[in-house]
Each structure stands twice: as C-alpha cells, then as structure tokens.
Amino acid sequence: MTTQLTPVLTKNWGTDNSWTLAAYQKQGGYTAIKKAFAMTPEAVVGEVKESGLRGRGGAGFPTGMKWSFVPQDNPNPKYLVVNGDESEPGTCKDIPLLMASPHTLLEGVIISSYAINAHMAFIYIRGEVVHPIRRMRQAVEEAYAAGLLGKNICGSGFDLDVIVQSGAGAYICGEETALLNSLEGLRGQPRLRPPFPAVAGLYQCPTVVNNVESIASVPSIIDNGAAWFASMGTEKSQGFTIYSLSGHVQRPGQYEAAFGITMRELLEMAGGIREGHELKFFTPGGSSTPLLTADHLDTVMDFESLAAVGTMLGTKAMQVFDETVSVVRTTLRWVEFYAHESCGKCTPCREGTYWLVQLLTRLEAGEGRKGDVDKLLALVDLIDSKSFCPLLGGAVACVSSAVEHFRKEFEVGYHTPAWEYLPYDRSALFPVAEEVDS
C-alpha cells in the first residue's frame, strides 16, 4: 500500500505550456507510440489486459478485455470513441487533463486505435467546456502537422484520423450508447443492448468507447510495462488514478495516487476539512454514488472496498461536505440535476425524478407532510432498477443513502425549512449575495 502521491498522468500539468506538443515531447511524450508500433496490435491489447487497467469512467470494466471484444473478423471499420462528456456533479478529472495535457490523451488514442485496428477515432467532449475542446483541437492539429496523425504515422504504416466532437449539453450523452447516438447526429438517448458497441456501435460498426483517463493511462503502461502498472494499487484495482477532491477541504484539486489510499489519507493531502469544521458526509465517486460519512474515512478507495460498504468508486470524485451543510438541500440539488438531465425515454426516470423533485422541494421548504420521508423511500423503491439506463440509479443512490444516514434531518422538513435549520450562508466558501434558488 502506498500513501504517496503517484503523479503519472498529472506529472506534467505544472510545466510551462504543458498542453503544447513541444512541452509534451520534452517530457518524453510520444515515445510510447514507437514502442507500440514495434509490437503487434494483439500484443498491445495483451499488455493492457495484463496491466489490470480498469475503466476510469465509473464502471471499472477491464479496458483490455473491452478491446478484445472487438470482432476483428468483422469486415466493417472499427472505431475508437473517447468519452470526454464529463458532466456529473463533482466529477472533474478529465477536463483538467484535457486542459493540461491533451497530448497524453492523444498518444493514448493512437496506441489504443492501433491495438483495436481502428483508423478513425472520435474524442467526444462535453459541449459546455469550450476551452478543453479548443485545447484538444489544437493538439490534434499539432499532431497532424508533426506526422503523429494521418497517413503512415511515424513511418509505422498505421493510419489514423481523429475528430474532436463537442457535445450539445446532455449529461446522458456520457452513457456510451447515448454518446454514440449523439455522435451520429441522432437524439441523445441510450440504445438498446445487445448489440453492444463492441459489435455494433458507431454507425453499427465495432466500436470501443473508453473514458478519457482510461485512454490517457495507456501510454504509461506501454512505456513502463504492464508489470510496473500492476505493481501499484490493490489486488483487483491495479495502478494509479486521479482522485478529485472538492467542497469543504482546505486544498481542493486533483490527487493522483495508487489505488489503496483511504479517504482519510486523501483528506490529509488536501489539508483536511476547512478550518473549524468537521466532515459530515462525502461522495466517493460523484453524485451518482451513495454517500458516505466520517464512519467510512478508513475505507480503501478502490472498486472492491467501496462496493463492500454499499457504494461505488464511480469517477473518484469526492465531494466533501462539512456539518454546516443541509443534506436535504444537497440531495434536492442533485435530484434536480437528474430530473433536468433525464432524457425522458423511460417512464421510471422521467416520472420518478419529476416526483422526487417535488417531494424534496417541499421537505427543503419545511412544508413536508407527515410520512413524506417514508414516501420518499417508497418512491425510491418504486423506481429503483426499473429504468432503461443507469442514470436513474444515480438519483436513487443519493436519495436513499442520504435518508439512510440523515433521516432525522429530512423529518425536520415537516416543520422547518432547511435554510432555517442549517442556514445556507454558513456552508458557503465564498460570500454570496443572495440565495436565489431556495
């Protein structure tokens, strides 16, 4: 177990003009592609499999295994799609990576495309984040100019074109099949599976969809070997990852560390909770993962250990809230997000989030009716596991875990507005003029 920072992906973030090709190459960038081109595509897949790299987008599916699902005997073109539609409340690792070192991702894209025999790759980035999109496009242009993209990359005989596509403002398009629909110019709603994207994805062709961080991790694996990567982390969660700490911590930001680190250690690195306050609750991996409390500070932040305590590693986005925060208010804000982002395709999500918002709104306003908390739980049970895609699971997770840990606070909503029970200005990190939305 290591408790030290392990900067690999974040290593060059502090250097001058880190996003340029020159700076990246000065740091030793684009050496991994040469190593990869010297290997067979199958060997590259094997190396990534062996490293134990698991998807960093939330589900933690083994990346190498996903690649090996691509039917190479399928006569259609193969595609690599990088999922950069980072939109979940709290999640903020891919966008800094795209800003600071787009070439790390691009090198990963080249190697990954080579491994799965794709000659066209798409980087789909959340539409609201204009700067990273520009950075990524700039990086792609630089790479073309330097012969790192296009025909016969570095004399390897391998051709690759990369398209950077901006999303149109829908959280659901981070779900891989909805992303593919959006990329094809269709309505951003998830597709029926099977067929899975590996068999019939973009334009019904074999497609690998990977998270930005997953693909960005590939060059380091090829550079340093699978054994180096697998030497870090825990038994089933190998390697390093970026933990994003936000909220009531002294130094919010990105902390890259090997799996196995605990929340207590991460909090220490971030300088602890803000002065004079104590931890109330936190999300282990974005708003879609059931929240945890101070009781779970020593839980190891890897896939298995968090599953064991009934939550998920998700996107490793720890939103930290101190004792001044109203959990009712927080939950409502999250649920409002899910209701707003529900694509509307399936009944439980469309109607369930609509109802959740109404129930929580009156609890926040102190206008809850007796029995509303039980009704809230009944509603969670009503919609749980019935939706078409996992979006609704996120909404259910934050509500049920919040009630589980802080039921009393919800019951306060029968008579007292949350803003009176826990005045909102106390939890503000910066002076705010007026709370406009309560």
């Binding site: 529900s342 509307g344 395709k345 609509y354 009503l382 919609i383 749980d384 019935k386 078409f388």
Partner: protein, 787 residues
C-alpha cells in the same frame, strides 16, 4: 419463394407453462404464445423494440443459464433462451408489483380525463390501469401541464398531457412509413412529440399513429368528439379505395359511418391502412346523393331530369335498350364489386346481346385488353404480399406504389428495411416514394419504356410490378410480357381500383367473358347460362345507348371527348350521386353505395376480400344488381339473380375454362416524335390524395395532400424558357393548365411530371396523359406585372 431455413426452437417456462418458440423471440411474444398478455405501451409486434415504457416488467428466475436476474426485466426487449424460466404478473409477485409501480408512474402526469377523452372505453391505458394499477395514487404534487391540443397536421391532433411517450407514433413514422416528420423533442418530463416549424405531419399514413396510440394523445380531427366506443357498431369489411384489399373495421354510429380503422390481417395489410382508406369514406354522405330515379323530360339538350317512380325509370331504360340492342355499350366503374360487375357482364351478354362492356373507366388500350385476357384474367399462381417480402428484387414499371397502392409500398419498405430487398424503378422521375424504398433509379422517358423493359435483366427471385398507367404507352405491355415470359422472373399487374381484378373475373371486358372464357370460345359459358353467346362477338364502336355505372368523366384521357360521347348517346346512368355523367344522362338510377351492400373484391394478389354491409340501406336506392334484374325481367330475359349473394352463387358455378389462353399482345412501340424546344413528354401518376370523388367530404384529409407542383429538369426548364417563380402553362390537345413548378435535378430531360388529377387541374381536361406531348410556356403576365 426463397427457402426459409427452419428456425431453431427453444423451450421456455412462462408462469409454469412451457412454450416452444423460435430462438430470439422476445419474452413478451413468448408469453403471448403461452397465452399470457403482459401489459405494455411501447411494445408493438411490427415496430422495433425500444424498452421505453417499462410496463412489461417480468421476473426472470432463470435466464437459461441457471441464474436469474435480481430485478424484474422488460419482456419486450428480452430475448428468450432455452430453459429460461419467467414469471409474469400472473404468478410472480415481484412482476406484479413492478408493473403496478410503473403504472403508478405512467399515471403520474396523466390528466385522467377519461370522461372527455375519445379513447375512453377503448383505451389500453385505461384497461391496463384497471388490471395492473393500484386503486390509490400516492402522488399528491402538481401535474405537468401543456397547452393543448396541438395540431400535427390538419388531420392529426396531439394532446401532450395524455401522452405516455411510448414512441409508437414516432417509430411508426420513421420505421414503417419512412416519413419521420414527427419526432421527440425536449427531454425529461418536458419531452414531447413534435413537428418541425411549418412542416406538418402530412404523411399518406398519418392515421396509423392515431390507431397505434395506446392513450388518447393522438386523435384525428376527423373523428374526435364524434362518438363513444359503446355507441359504435363495428363491422369488419374491405377497403374500396384501392386494389390493396386492406381489412378494415368500420364504426358506424346511428346508421352513419364515423370512423374506419385498419383491421389486423397479417397476410395483407398487417395492421396498417393508408389515410385515403382510413378517412376517405364520406363521399356517399356528402354532396348530392341521388334519392330517386330520374328521367330526362324533353330533348337531350334542353330537357331536364325529373324525379319519377322506379317503374317509369325502368320502363324508359328498357325501351332504350330494346331499341339499341347490340348497339349498346356498358361502362362499369372499376370500384364495383365482383357481383355488380358480374351482373352488368351477364346483363350485357344475355339480356342486351353485346360484348361491348368494359370496366376500365380510365385510360386504356386494346393492347391492355389483350394483356389482361392473356396474362391476368386466368392467373392461377399470383404474386402475393408474402412473395414481395421474400423477393430478392422488385422492379417497378409504370407503378408508383406509395400513391397508387400504399400498402404494397409499406410491404416493399418493410422488405427493404428488414430482409434486404432491392427495388428498382423505371421512371422519368425519382419520386419521394422511390427515395423511401432506397430504389435504384433507372431514368426512362415514358415513351422509351418499351425499350427500357426490353433491356431489363430479370433473374430468379425478381418480381416485376406493372401499374395500370402502362396501358398508355403503346408497346410497353407487349414488351413486358415478352421479357417476363422468357425469364424466371414473376409479374404482377397492380390496378389502382378495388374492383378491377374482380371485374376481369366477371368478364367485364370486350373480348373476355366471366370465368376467363374468350368470346371466341364461349360454348362452356353458353351452356351454363343457357344463352347462345356465339352470335355476339362484335363490339359496338359508336353505341346508341350507353349504360354507365359509377363513372367520372375526369377519369378518361380526355374529359371533353367523354362528355361529347355522352351527349350523343342515350345514357342510362347508375350512380350514388349527381356526377357529371348523371347530369347529362337520360335515365338515372339511384344506386346503393358500397357501405350499404355486401360483396366481394379481389385485390391485386387475386385474393378474395369480402365487403360487408356496414350501415342499414336507405329506402331511396337499390343495389345495381336489383335494378338490372328488374330491367331484365321487363325485357323478358330474366337475369337469374336479384341479390349480391345470388350473383356470387351464379359466378361461382361457372364451369372452369379449359381452352387455350388468349394470345398476348404484340404491339410495336411508337416511333419517338421529334420535340420542339418548348415541348415535353408528360410523366404522371395519380397522387393518393387528389381530386378523386372518393375523398369528397374528407376535408381535413384533403388538406394533407402534397403541394401541387409540376417538375422539370433544369435543362428542360431552360430549353422551354421557363421563368422561376412564374407558373408554367401546360398546353395539351384540348386546352391549357397552369401549374406551380420546381426544378428536379434527377429528372429525365424533355419530360414534365404532373399530377394526374389535382383539384381543378385534371390532365384529362386538356387531353394530356402519360406519354403525351405538351407544350410549355410561362403563364402570361399582363403589362404592369399583374397576372
């Protein structure tokens, strides 16, 4: 037919009962096979599964691999596997609870306005809520509201509050009809079905979405608020508006038809109907229905039609027929039933003694007469819808299925989409329908069709669909028969009208008797009818008396010539309403409309389709068979039947014709005439929604017709000096018409496409038809720029 490999079968256990179904079957279908109806909204067997409403959740305790699913799964998207064990709401408490949960959510934002909703009483939501829902709803918040209703077109109206967003309508328009003009917009609880601004849902198939809608969200402007399900009497019958032969359920209220819906008929129309079939039923109760027999008093030019008794009218008609004898001509509507056609056919032969009888109240030719007698009338192994579905290739020749036979179009589209059918079209214009079939376009000038047909490559598995407009191109049908008979391909002739195949079988053709007997070999029929037919093989060229039934003058190549003919002869008219023919007739008989009669159609597949009496006949009209039998009695040669059933029985008794098949036509194509710069050849077909009399009274439906636009290629427009924005004046043999027009880059040069019978712009009024030459110029603009 291509060989279909035996599907691998799997056995699943549903609610404890076993069902064996083909591998890949959806659990919801397997449950149906096991006799269990799992409640559903989005699922429809003819639409791609979507899994949106989640109403059909079932418990899967064993997925076939020994493991079950921890939570209920949607039956509409789960494919069964061998050994799968699942429980529906019948046996599984978890499935039952899950379904009740979903129903509670479905009703969350539903206005529950059943008492004022058209769907109330026949609503899947209402029914399933009663079966699967809870008695109490726990939601006590504010419901989502929308402005309503919203018109998606002049015909289709949307209530967004009632909508459960099952997307049956948007999937139908996208997947089945290929008119994705309605789409989901917005998201979450704001999600709704929408059209693009100023782009109404003017599809030829839009009415299907009203029928598909499992709630009262989509209604038709034509029917809404005009009846309750429990007030309606439903009769299953066949659509009379084209030769597709769709089964319909017709709803009548207080003796008046108020609505028609597609009936499920897997082999024919599946579950669909076109809008003309669905909404084009008001002609019999609109306009001037004839309520009494009429006889012209005074001379032909100045006399007026005066209502008389049945006896007087029959006497007047009988006198005329007695006088004209063999010099009588019969022109029968192609919309008549087999029985009516047979009545006229037998009456002409045995009572009047003439072979001058024809059902083609439309442009026709002797070449077609020969073609029909030789290749269609005696058909014993006709092409079917199923064959279209399994064909490798379908070639359209003079055939525009989207407009002329819409259900054939849907079946072709299904085969293209699902089974890899390739469609090829020989036409001067790449139509919207061809576009939707992804058809390969073989650009041909109408006059060059015979040559293009001769150049076709016809392999096994190819079906050629020939439309009735081919009759207008000399040599086309001859070339077609020659080409197809020397190849392994199959041929189907698709008429537009519902009664044409039946009329052929009834012998309503100059050279052809009922049962396929040629007039030159009629002994078998003479014996059966006990009437010598050998003496009457001639055909009256200028009949002195004409018996005309259900015919519109616009249906012919030249309406003016037709009117002239009618003014020269003594005309006995059988009709439901005061048509142009009736107005110039000498004797007019009020005939019962189809909805008041029983009868038989044969659709283009030669499939027998039965027509049922939908409403109680009025007392003011009689069936044409009854009138004919009265006339025959007066003329002293009884017809032998007085009812539709009697006519059918007589027809069925005809002994089979065993003689040689009449020879196929061998007509040489015309030499192409040299065109002047401002001349063009007419390419045309009848749009589904045009000035047809059967659309009378269906005003909302007519409002969804396509814009009336002539189309020419840029080169042709330039050659003729057409000015963009100014209407084109099209001059034919008998006059000129002005059309708005647009450029169609894919069009063959020196051709102008025109709709055959647009309101007020019937090509017959200028004597133009498919293949005829017209001159083009700009509509005259007066000085000062005013038209």
């Amino acid at each position: 037919m291509s060989e279909v490999p035996m599907a691998e079968m799997v056995t699943v256990t549903i609610d404890g009962a076993q069902a064996t179904v083909p591998k890949g079957t959806l659990a919801i279908r397997a449950a149906e096979a096991a006799g269990v109806h799992v409640p559903r909204f989005c699922d429809h067997p003819l639409l791609d599964p979507v899994g949106a409403c989640r109403q059909c959740l079932v418990e899967i305790t064993d997925a076939g691999n020994g493991r079950g699913f921890p939570t209920p799964q949607p039956a509409c998207t789960t494919q069964v596997a061998d050994g799968m064990v699942l429980g529906t709401q019948v046996t599984s408490a978890s499935a039952k609870k899950a379904q009740a949960d979903i129903m509670e959510l479905i009703l969350l934002n539903h206005p529950l306005d059943c008492p004022v909703c058209d769907k109330g009483g026949e609503c899947p939501l209402q029914n399933q809520a009663m079966v699967s829902g809870r008695a109490e709803q726990r939601f006590d918040g504010e419901k989502n509201t929308f402005a309503k209703p919203v018109a998606l077109s002049e015909l289709i109206v949307l209530d967004r509050e009632r909508c459960v967003l099952c997307t049956r309508c948007t999937r139908f328009s996208d997947q089945i009809s290929g008119d994705p003009m309605i789409q989901l917009t917005e998201r979450g609880s704001h999600q709704q079905v929408s059209i693009a601004p100023d782009k109404p849902y003017d599809s030829y198939f839009s009415g299907n979405v009203v029928q598909l809608c499992p709630v009262g969200a989509l209604t038709s402007a034509d029917y809404r608020f005009s009846g309750r399900p429990f007030d309606l009497t439903t009769t299953r019958t066949t659509c009379e508006n084209c030769a597709c032969g769709c089964s319909l359920n017709v709803d009548a209220r207080s003796g008046k038809v108020v609505r028609r819906k597609a009936a499920h008929e897997a082999e024919v129309n599946e579950a669909w109907a076109c809008d003309k079939g669905r909404y084009g039923f008001r002609s019999s109760c609109s306009g001037q229905r004839i309520t009494a027999p009429m006889v012209r008093q005074g001379d032909k030019k100045t006399g007026t039609l005066v209502e008389v008794s049945w006896g007087e009218a029959i006497e007047a008609a009988a006198n005329a027929l007695r006088e004209s004898g063999a010099s009588t001509g019969f022109l029968i509507s192609g919309r008549a039933t087999l029985e009516s056609s047979y009545g006229f056919s037998k009456f002409a032969r045995t009572v009047v003694g003439t072979n001058s009888v024809d059902f083609r109240s439309r442009p026709s030719a002797d070449e077609e007469t020969q073609f029909l007698a030789s290749c269609v009338a005696g058909e014993t192994n006709p092409v079917t819808y199923a064959e279209l579905e399994s064909a490798k290739k379908v070639i359209l020749v003079g055939c525009e299925p989207e407009s002329e036979s819409p259900i054939v179009f849907l079946r072709l589209r299904k085969a293209v989409r699902k089974y890899g059918l390739k469609v090829e079209t020989l036409s001067a214009i790449y139509s919207w329908g061809s576009h939707k079939l992804g058809a390969q376009f073989v650009p041909v000038k109408p006059c060059d069709l015979p040559t293009a047909i001769g150049n076709l490559k016809l392999a096994k598995g190819t079906v050629v669909l020939a439309g009735e407009t081919l009759a207008q191109i000399p040599g086309a049908l001859s070339a077609l028969v020659e080409k197809v008979t020397s190849s392994p391909a199959r041929l189907a002739w698709i008429p537009r009208r519902a009664g044409e195949i039946g009329a052929l079988k009834a012998g309503c053709l100059p050279g052809l008797l009922p049962g396929g007997y040629p007039t030159t070999d009629s002994q078998g029929l003479s014996d059966y009818w006990k009437s010598d037919l050998s003496a009457i093989s001639s055909r009256a060229t200028n009949p002195s008396t004409m018996v005309v039934s259900g015919v519109e003058v616009e249906d012919f190549i030249s309406s003016s010539t037709m009117i002239k003919n009618l003014t020269e002869a003594f005309v006995i008219c059988f009709d439901t309403h005061l048509s142009t023919v009736a107005k110039s007739a000498d004797v007019v008989f009020p005939v019962a409309p189809l909805e008041e009669t029983d009868g038989t159609f044969f659709n283009w597949e030669h499939r027998e389709r039965s027509l049922s009496q939908v409403v109680t006949p009025t007392t003011t009209s009689l069936t044409d068979i009854r009138i004919l039998s009265e006339l025959a009695d007066v003329l002293g040669k009884p017809l032998g039947f007085r009812t539709s059933a009697g006519a059918k029985e007589s027809w069925e008794g005809i002994p089979a014709y065993g003689g040689p098949t009449p020879a196929a036509p061998q007509v040489k194509p015309l030499k192409a005439s040299k065109l002047a710069k401002n001349q063009a050849i007419v390419s045309t077909w009848r749009e589904l929604l045009d000035d047809s009399h059967c659309l009378d009274g269906a005003d909302q439906l007519k409002a969804t017709a396509r814009p009336i636009l002539a189309r020419v290629s840029p080169a042709t427009a330039k050659a003729a000096g057409l000015i963009e924005g100014a209407p084109v004046r099209v001059s034919g043999a008998h006059g000129a018409l002005s059309f708005a027009w647009e450029l169609e880059p894919t069009m063959v040069e020196s051709v102008i496409w025109l709709p055959t019978n647009a309101p007020g712009l019937a090509l017959s009024s200028i004597g133009a038809h498919l293949g005829s030459v017209v001159s083009l110029d700009n509509e005259l603009v007066e000085k000062g720029g005013k038209k």
